[in-house]
Point group: C2
Chain length 262, copies 2
């Protein structure tokens, strides 16, 4: 199985992209809804949670781990890799960075994400190593997650808040914008409208799914280990009446959630 985890249900945007590319293999998803969100929490706490989530997926038979959460991808990957030696990990930061690197013409890249992702400084390091001429401008956009989870996708307040978050980045003249949080693709239309035609968007869900598909296609050993087909199996650490409709918003199809008993 392909294991995917996120702090909550936002990572289902990654499952949606995976289903479009590798739907011959079974996907196992874990959303840590009992402790969500991660983006306002410390790197230390986020790392502890990420280890527990990975353990859950491996115990249930995952052979590949896809970290759909940008906050975990920014802060916990080295620890995860050393803790779970030999397990192939995929995360959303590196492919998003690569895509932005290939897209930018004027070498001015922008990024919106959670506070913890932005303050991790990981994108700054990646761009500085790849091309010191690239200037990266970042702005934490913490209100977008609650607005999306409330389903306020077309309200004037959401449009106004998106605009506020983008103004400082537009003033820097960026031509590429990384949506560094699994939730943000849901607001792609408004973000794209407020960013303007000249700014290209990087959607991490698409990039990581592309990378996973490529890895599997070129790895016969892994292909043999992966269970084939079946509906994605979705687990959460907490379940409220509200969650199935949120999950459906991300996955764009009806979905059954299973609650983990700790």
């Amino acid at each position: 199985m392909i294991g995917v985890f996120d702090s909550g249900l936002g990572g289902l945007t990654v499952v949606k992209e995976l289903l479009e590319r590798v739907n011959q293999y079974k996907i196992l998803y874990f959303g840590d809804t009992a402790r969500t969100p991660y983006g306002t929490k410390s790197a230390e706490t986020v790392t502890r949670y990420a280890i527990e989530n990975t353990n859950f997926l491996l115990e249930r038979g995952a052979k590949i781990i896809v970290v759909a959460c940008h906050t975990v991808s920014s802060t916990a990957i080295p620890v995860l890799k050393s803790h779970f030696k030999g397990v192939p990990f995929f995360e959303v930061v590196t492919p998003s960075f690569r895509k932005a690197l290939s897209l930018t013409k004027n070498k001015k890249v922008g990024l919106i994400g959670t506070r913890t992702t932005v303050s991790s400084g990981i994108y700054q390091r990646l761009f500085a190593e790849a091309d010191p001429e690239i200037s990266l401008s970042t702005n934490p956009a913490p209100l977008l997650v609650p607005l999306i989870e409330e389903g306020w996708l077309r309200k004037p307040e959401t449009r106004s808040i998106v605009k506020k978050y983008l103004i400082p980045l537009k003033m820097k003249g960026i031509d590429t914008l990384i949506l560094a949080c699994t939730h943000y693709p849901i607001l792609k239309k408004i973000i794209s409208e407020k960013a303007g035609k000249r700014i290209k968007l990087v959607d991490p869900s698409e990039e990581v799914a592309h990378e996973v598909a490529h890895f599997i296609a070129n790895n016969v050993e892994i292909q043999k280990c992966l269970e084939s087909n079946g509906e994605p199996e979705i687990w959460v650490s907490d379940l409220t009446p509200n969650f199935e409709s949120i999950a459906q918003m991300f996955l764009k199809r009806k979905v059954k959630l299973n609650k983990v008993i700790w």
Copy 2:
């Protein structure tokens, strides 16, 4: 010590009110910042967290437990009382209900709170038992917590969102509004402005602090057990650079946060 806990830092509004009334006794606070918020989580998960938080406070010497969290007060009190027999518990729902009951003239009461608080139905039950003629109108207002935690206290988007949440309650003709979440008193000015002069606000922090002060004043045994004075001791389950300024916003004074090592 007087133990106080909340899902995060919002419960410091209760500590502030306690300091104004019983500052001769030491206060021990626990904010579960590693798992905050509670208001979007299930009653089952919230109850499990509440038991762990109470254990922490009792182990560190608390003799009274004040549940500053509205979500816990709405869902977990019977379990807490049966789990920790003999421990005096105070919660924010009952005193807020009593205050609203005494304030309303036209018997039309409104309430804003988290989803879990609103769907618990506890206020509906209390009012129905006390006076079946009272009609209670509720509206979940889940975006207010993130807006407050972001410090967006005077932004036009916040004003507009507050207005949206109040419209259906005003249309019901309420004359009293319960602010059923520890965070909301921070927005009291905007809420009061948008509610209009004819609606009186009930602030749970003031009501529970008043009740605790009254209990202690009339209970010599408890007075002997409580450690006197000293600065409030504030513990959190997660710590980020952002938290001390959020804590200061609620407590209206500089504050040192201690992180629990689980």
